[in-house]
């Protein structure tokens, strides 16, 4: 059984409460986290070259980032897109999750599968299709077209997370409210929504980060005047290793970390 595999061997390792499996796990965690740490450390480097360890401490890369108007504009566009896509996907996805898990609908399974499909069909394929569609509609290169594309790819996450939340709410609670005379709208507003609010919030964080980090759809759909932040980063990186990006990356890692912690809290609160 497990204890044999995770057995404490006598000797020094035992006193450290270590065993081969934990040692392996530690190495894997280093592999998973090392790139992030290296970027964070280098963001405070005084050197223009990617020397490691850095020769000295400096905040210069943070300074140049906040002075670069192009990067700041792109950051603004990315935030705009992520906010819009999050709100749209939460509204549409939550309504869909409600009707699909609370009512028996003819063709419900097929509809659910179609709404989950954007998760499985590679985003590059969706980008290729939307690129043509938006050209035919004459709205290529607009921020709106990126928002639509991001809403589509966020729908599966929202549907999955909110449906899971809804399944966890016992139907008897809603039935009890209805039996006691509450109307449908009151039951939903006072009973169901509060109970799934943490799921909705978790889905929203997930959607926001997905949209904010998404590259390929934005890359295909954006015009030079509406480039999102990941596009700017990609273009900067394709040509050379740009030390300013270490500062940007550190800010993102910090923001994402806050997002993950929040997500975990909400999941546990569920």
């Amino acid at each position: 059984m497990a204890r044999d595999v995770v057995q404490y061997k006598p000797g020094i390792l035992n006193r450290l409460h270590w065993n081969p499996l934990a040692f392996y796990a530690a190495i894997m965690f280093m592999f998973l986290l090392a790139p992030g740490f290296v970027v964070i450390i280098l963001s405070f480097s005084s050197s223009t070259f990617m020397e490691f360890p850095p020769p000295g401490f400096s905040l210069q890369w943070y300074g140049t980032f906040f002075k670069d108007e192009q990067l700041l504009t792109a950051l603004g566009i990315s935030l705009q897109v992520a906010f819009a896509a999050t709100i749209l996907s939460i509204l549409i996805g939550t309504l869909a999750a409600f009707s699909l898990s609370r009512y028996t609908i003819r063709g419900g399974k097929v509809i659910r599968l179609a709404m989950l499909a954007p998760f499985i069909v590679p985003w590059i394929v969706q980008a290729t299709g939307l690129y043509r569609l938006f050209a035919l509609l004459g709205i290529q290169g607009t921020i709106g077209s990126i928002i639509i594309a991001h809403t589509v790819i966020c729908i599966p996450f929202v549907l999955l997370v909110v449906s899971a939340g809804l399944i966890a709410v016992p139907r008897s609670l809603e039935d009890a409210a209805r039996t006691l005379g509450a109307s449908g709208i009151t039951t939903t507003r006072r009973i169901t929504l509060p109970l799934i609010s943490s799921s909705i919030a978790a889905a929203a964080i997930f959607a926001f980060i997905t949209s904010f980090d998404e590259f390929i759809l934005a890359f295909f759909l954006a015009s030079p005047s509406a480039e999102t932040f990941p596009i700017k980063m990609f273009l900067a990186l394709r040509d050379k290793v740009d030390p300013r990006l270490t500062a940007v990356s550190t800010l993102f890692i910090t923001a994402n970390f806050a997002g993950v912690i929040l997500f975990q809290r909400l999941r546990r609160a569920k």
Binding site: M1, I111, I120, V125, T151, F215, M233, N256
Partner: protein, 299 residues
């Protein structure tokens, strides 16, 4: 009054509330419209375009042809790219599976009070932008990168770690590891330790118990992880583009290239080939494991 309550209980227990405040079909409409117009319609468009002819001068005409598919599937240059994409996805899947299994087992079985923190550490890279992580690998593995400067400091020769297959695999494996670890961890956590204990009580050695009980019971998790990693690897553009360079062109990079030179019909055919491969994998998964398992990982 009693009748009224009775009626309400009856109607709600059949799952069809008579007094719905919004009919379910209306709640579904925005989703159906969105998916139809901005997911199914573009896919249909691409199917159509993939059979269009590109005439001299570069414009695409609605004349039926199989040329786009034949071109992709017969020219050695394109075949090589298709096989490279499949190969990278396959190797990435195998490496992540081998690396993840012991770690997931450790996470599922550890009695550490920091367990939640450890799971969070797995999730963390999952939430860090792929560009940033690819960039970090450039910093680590590049010719003037961390690894090479450490080697130079030790008086050892330089090694080429980016702009080749090694670089792409490093990036893909690290980026996709959480997709494998999470379903495996969930799957192994679901195996009761008592099952392993009873096998041991009945005289099975720890290796036999592991191979005959734990591994088979965790297969659905491994399959879910493999599906996610394989599909994501097949569709990845950034990692091969940033870490592999021109020598590591994969289908997504080729699609982008074809759109850049305005050969949309060929790009559409390539996209369809990519979808076809993914579809086969998904159908296989559905037969063997069941698609509904995919839902579990984010719930």
């Amino acid at each position: 009054m009693v009748k009224n309550i009775q009626r309400r209980i009856n109607s709600s227990s059949t799952g069809n509330l008579k007094t719905r405040w919004i009919p379910p079909y209306i709640m579904l409409t925005p989703g159906i419209v969105l998916i139809t117009f901005f997911f199914l319609l573009p896919l249909t468009l691409m199917v159509i375009y993939s059979f269009y002819t590109r005439v001299l001068g570069g414009s695409i005409e609605p004349i039926f042809t199989l040329d786009n598919y034949l071109r992709a599937l017969t020219r050695p240059l394109y075949l090589k790219i298709i096989f490279r994409t499949l190969w990278l996805a396959l190797v990435t899947t195998i490496i992540t599976l081998v690396l993840s299994y012991p770690l997931s087992y450790f996470l599922a079985r550890t009695k550490s009070k920091h367990k939640n923190l450890l799971v969070l550490a797995v999730l963390f890279p999952f939430w860090t932008s792929i560009i940033i992580r690819s960039y970090a690998w450039l910093v680590l593995l590049g010719n003037k990168g961390v690894v090479n400067s450490v080697l130079a400091g030790l008086g050892l020769p330089k090694v080429q770690l980016i702009w080749n297959e090694t670089g792409v695999l490093f990036g893909l494996v690290q980026i996709l590891l959480p997709y494998m670890i999470l379903p495996l961890y969930a799957s192994i956590s679901g195996i009761k330790e008592s099952i392993e204990e009873s096998a041991r009580t009945l005289g099975a050695g720890s290796l036999v118990t592991f191979m005959r009980m734990t591994v088979p019971l965790s297969l659905p998790g491994a399959a879910t992880g493999a599906l996610l990693v394989f599909i994501s690897a097949m569709g990845s553009f950034l990692t091969p583009a940033l870490l592999g360079g021109p020598s590591q062109i994969v289908i997504p990079m080729l699609i982008y290239e074809q759109i850049a030179i305005l050969n949309y019909a060929f790009a559409a055919a390539l996209s369809m080939i990519l979808v076809f491969i993914v579809l086969i994998i998904v159908i296989l998964f559905d037969r063997l494991v069941g698609l509904e398992r995919l839902g579990g990982i984010y719930g």
